[in-house]
Each structure stands twice: as structure tokens, then as C-alpha cells.
């Protein structure tokens, strides 16, 4: 059994964990922003699918991954615009619209795929990696963490950017107020609807980007239902992270590592059914909730549409 866990294999596992974590990270960061501003964005799975599809279409036809990320983000934003219009502007129920959008995008992207790609199944070439000098030479860790596509480092940098945004900028204050007491924000002269719209559209962009990464880098192709519930995991991550972007990062990595663990255990010949291993991240989080549950509070106005002057 000695050869099983070679350095190359270990770093491939960790590399895979990071690749799997990035879409969750982006979705979680996006969802977090919506939730901070008081919008429960259940439609994020739909936004990811739109991003995955359009992202793939963009990258495939243009041959540029970056253009793919752009079109993917735009796809997410397009779906988010519906959400913003229906749930933020005119205050429709966020759960109804969210689920409807998810169902609709599942169907629509599958339909488009059927007419467009279901005979050719085009696949993209490997994503070119940005190799970080020095760091990438560290054994195991280096190839696992420092040989990714540039967008991965940007996503991680975004975690800290978001942290800064929330804690140090006026917009961060606005977002928090929009989620905790929108009326107070309104009378302070900031348009609540606009603030929430910004948040939802940002969510769309991030979710779309996450979907595009999943399709273009994670899989290298698009097939129907490719997101496989990643959006819902993003919701869970965002809620657990309680407004702290770094926790989304930790959570996403936990899920990624657990996925790679599945492979590692199989290769090591440990015979636990994959179902059981798949339960591990959820079990871990559940146990965390049982132990530290009380602290998982959410914005007071989450899910409640804001209407000026309503009693």
C-alpha cells in the first residue's frame, strides 16, 4: 500500500478539494451578501445554472475562459435581475420566486443543452494555471494550492475584500442596516430597494461566476443539472457563516476536503459506502450547530420585503 499516497496523489486530492470548494465559496459569498441585506435568495441554484450554461457557451465559442467567466456572471445577474425585480422591487415572496427560478433554470438550461450540445458534448481544453513562484515549490501544498487558475486566487482575495467591505465601508453599513432595520436605513436617506437590489445583483454575479467556474474549470463542459445542489449548499454555508466571509471560505473548504476524502478512502481501500462519507460534512456542521447553535442568528428583516411607510 505504500505507493498509494504519493505526494502527487495527495496534492491532486487537495487540488480537487480546492476546485470543488470554489463554486461553493462564490455561491456562499453571494448568498451571504443577499442575506446581509435581508433577502433570502433561494434562487441561487438557478443563478448558478444560468452562470454555468452561459459561462460555458461564452468560453466555448470565444475560446477565452475569462470571457466565459464574464458571460457566466452576466447570466447570474440576468436571473438575479428577475429576483430583484419581483422580490425586492415589488415584494413578492422570496421563497416562491426563488424556488420557481431554480426550477425554471433547471429546465431551461437542460432544454438549451438538448438543442445545442446534446450530440456533440463539447469540452474545453484545460484551464491554464497561474503558478505562484516559490510557494508552488512546497511539496504537496504547493501544487495543491498554488497552481490554480487566476480566478481562484481572486475568489480567495474576494473573501478578504468582502470582509473589508462589510466592516470598513459605508456600503457595508448600508447592507447591514438593510437587513436588520430597513426603515432606519430609509430614513437615513439611503434607498433600501436600491441597496437590496445591489446586493441581489452581486449575488447573481457571484453565483453565476461560481457556476461558470464549475462548468468551465471544474468540469470543462456543461451538462444538465450540473450544479447538483451546490446553490443550496451555498445557502447553508452563508447562514452558518453569520456574515463573516472567512467562515464561508472555511465551510467551502470543509466540503471540498470531505469530497476528496471520499476518493482518498476508496483508494486506501477503506470500505465505507460513499453515502456515509457524503454525510460527513453535514454531520460535522450539524454537530457544530448543536454545540454552538445559539450563535447562528440572522438579520432581523431577512425574508421580509421592504415597503416604505407600511405598518
Amino acid at each position: 500500500m505504500t505507493g498509494l499516497f504519493s505526494e502527487v496523489f495527495l496534492s491532486a486530492l487537495l487540488f480537487g478539494a480546492v476546485t470543488a470548494a470554489i463554486p461553493l465559496l462564490l455561491a456562499g459569498l453571494g448568498e451571504q451578501m443577499s442575506e446581509k441585506a435581508g433577502v433570502l435568495n433561494i434562487g441561487i441554484e438557478g443563478m448558478m445554472l444560468a452562470g454555468a450554461y452561459l459561462g460555458f457557451v461564452g468560453a466555448f465559442y470565444s475560446g477565452s475562459l475569462w470571457l466565459g467567466f464574464l458571460t457566466g456572471a452576466a447570466g447570474g445577474v440576468a436571473v438575479a435581475m428577475i429576483m430583484a425585480l419581483l422580490c425586492v422591487r415589488i415584494g413578492l415572496n422570496q421563497i416562491v420566486i426563488g424556488i420557481a427560478l431554480t426550477l425554471g433554470l433547471e429546465g431551461l438550461t437542460a432544454l438549451l443543452h438538448h438543442f445545442q450540445f446534446s450530440r456533440s458534448y463539447p469540452r474545453l481544453p484545460a484551464a491554464d494555471a497561474t503558478i505562484i513562484p516559490l510557494l508552488s515549490d512546497i511539496p504537496v501544498i504547493g501544487p495543491a494550492f498554488f497552481k490554480h487558475h487566476l480566478i481562484v486566487y481572486l475568489a480567495v482575495a474576494l473573501v478578504f475584500g468582502m470582509g473589508y467591505l462589510y466592516r470598513r465601508t459605508q456600503l457595508g453599513l448600508n447592507l447591514q442596516a438593510a437587513g436588520d432595520k430597513p426603515a432606519a436605513l430609509d430614513v437615513a436617506g439611503i434607498d433600501v430597494i436600491r441597496t437590496r437590489t445591489i446586493a441581489v445583483l452581486t449575488t447573481g454575479a457571484l453565483a453565476g461566476l461560481g457556476g461558470a467556474y464549475l462548468a468551465n474549470v471544474g468540469a470543462g463542459l456543461f451538462i444538465p443539472f450540473i450544479t447538483n445542489g451546490a446553490g443550496f449548499l451555498g445557502i447553508v454555508l452563508a447562514m452558518l457563516a453569520r456574515g463573516r466571509p472567512v467562515w464561508v471560505l472555511f465551510g467551502a473548504l470543509l466540503f471540498g476536503v470531505c469530497l476528496s476524502l471520499t476518493t482518498a478512502m476508496q483508494v486506501a481501500g477503506i470500505n465505507i459506502p460513499t453515502d456515509v462519507i457524503q454525510m460527513l460534512p453535514f454531520l460535522a456542521v450539524m454537530i457544530m450547530l448543536v454545540l454552538f447553535g445559539r450563535r447562528a442568528s440572522l438579520p432581523a428583516a431577512l425574508g421580509i420585503p421592504y415597503e416604505r411607510g407600511a405598518r
Binding site: G3, Q266, P273
Partner: protein
Amino acid sequence: KSIAILTPEEGTDYGWNQQGIDAAKAAGKAAGVEVVVAQGLGYGDVRPTLRELASDGASLLIAHASGYNTSAPEIAKELKVPVAIVDTPNGLEKGLVADYTLSGHQGAYLAGRLAAKMSRSKSVGIVVSGEPPSWNSQSAAFAQGVKAENPDVKITYAVIGPAAYSDAAGGKRVTESVIASGADIIFGQGNGSSFGMLQAVETTKAADGGKVYFIDVIGDKSPIDKGFLLSSVVWNIEPVYAAMIADIKADTFGTKHYTIGLKDDSVKLLKTAAIPDNVWAEIQTLREDVISGKIKVDPVYDAAAVRALMTSVAQ
């Protein structure tokens, strides 16, 4: 008059669904009967579709998914319509229920021999997106083939997830890990996720810097190949369906098992340009041996047994 086939996914997957639909169409055409295709039905309750197809006058319902093998016989009894189901050898009922338990294990065995011959690193991988019986039997036979060819070849077996059929990203990720563990030939089974495996093979270099090859199952992906497809265990279900239609006409439906195998080329290994002719010739000899019974390949359907086989093989 007409026969109907029901598949869980669209018949454009270069795999199980497409092979079933294409075969049904071909068999129908040959026998001069109309073929109704109900595809993309999912793995839920297909009783409504079965009833409707029966009431529309189909005289044979082919329930082309193991998930349909409870509902289809029930509808057969309810409406007195012949149905064909898969993976249920003891479900036969004269005039009503026929079983076709398809297993490409003989072909997979040859694929294993082929992989062992061609692997430069003496390490091959099996990646599956789930563990249904028909895949298990091929995984096991592949491993047996590898070991029979060369006991020193390492086999790495990895399941993407419990039901990761459409998890293309997972397929790619797991395949990349398996390649990193040293494999330079991947035997892959999985519907949508197998495209992710293919992508991984196309974009990842083997340990020696060379190409990684992919061995596919059931369907023939050469139309979309970019030069990484080594072979495929191709199933041809048409003889099965043709026999069924004939049995219905002869009133012997539901009395026999239909199988596929190397003998009549209903299971065959795909020859690609990547396989050198001498290797191919050796494989053809082995094929004769399997057909003649000189080499015996037994199907192993149970997931736990397959895993046991892998670990024992892996040592």
C-alpha cells in the same frame, strides 16, 4: 403493431439510453413495427407513462432502467401488456414479463486485458459515478482482466458519489485524482459524469508526461473523441429486442432470459486507432477463448463484492 421504450434520460448520451433507443428503433424497423420512444422520464414513478403507452396500443413496453422493474411488471399484470425489464432474472412471467439482464462483463474483461497490456505505468483506474449492478459486473470483470494479464498492474477504484450520475465536475475531479495516483488508463462508467471523466483524461497528463487513455462502456463516443478514447465496451441491444419481438409473435414471450455477450458481437470491444494491431490481434484471440469457455468470466453484481475484489486485487 407498435412497441414502446421508456428511458430515464434523453437518448443522446452516447450510452445506456442512446443504445437502448437506437436498438429499439432498429429492431422495430427490422420487424416492421412502429417504435414509440418515451425518454427523459427520470427515476421516479413511470406508471402513468406505462399505462398511457399501453392504452395507446403498444404491444410491448420496454422498461429500459433498473428503476422501472417494480412498476413495469405490475402494469403488465394490470393491463395484460407484455413488458421487458432489466436486471431481474427471476421476474419472468409467460406472456407478460421478460427480463434482459445485460452485462458487458465479458467485454469488460477484454478491456481489462487490453488496459493491462497498454498501460505504460502499470497502473490503471476505474472511475464510476454510482454502483448499479450492471456497472459493478463490468468493474469487476475489468479488474479480473487486468490481473489475468499482469498481476503487477495496480488498480485504483473510485466512486464519485452515491448517485453522482450528472456530476460532471465530480467526474473530472475524481478522475484527475486517480490519474495522479499513477493511472494512465481510465475505465470509466457514468452517464453525464463520464463526459467529465473524458475531459479529465483529455486535459491531464500521466505521470510519465504522456497521454492518458479512456475506456468507455455501453456506447460509442468516437464521434466526439479527440484522440483519447482507447476503446469502449459497446453493447448492441438490437438482437435482444429483435428476439423479444419474435417471441411475442411466437407466443413464447416471457419464457427466456435475453443476454448479450461476445459471441454474437452484441458485446464487443471498440477498435480505435490507438490500439496497435498486434495488441488487437491478441485481444481477438482472448475473445475466442472467452466465447469458447476456455476463459471463464463470472459477473459480480454486488457493490460490496466488487469493492472486496478491488482491495484484494489492489494488494
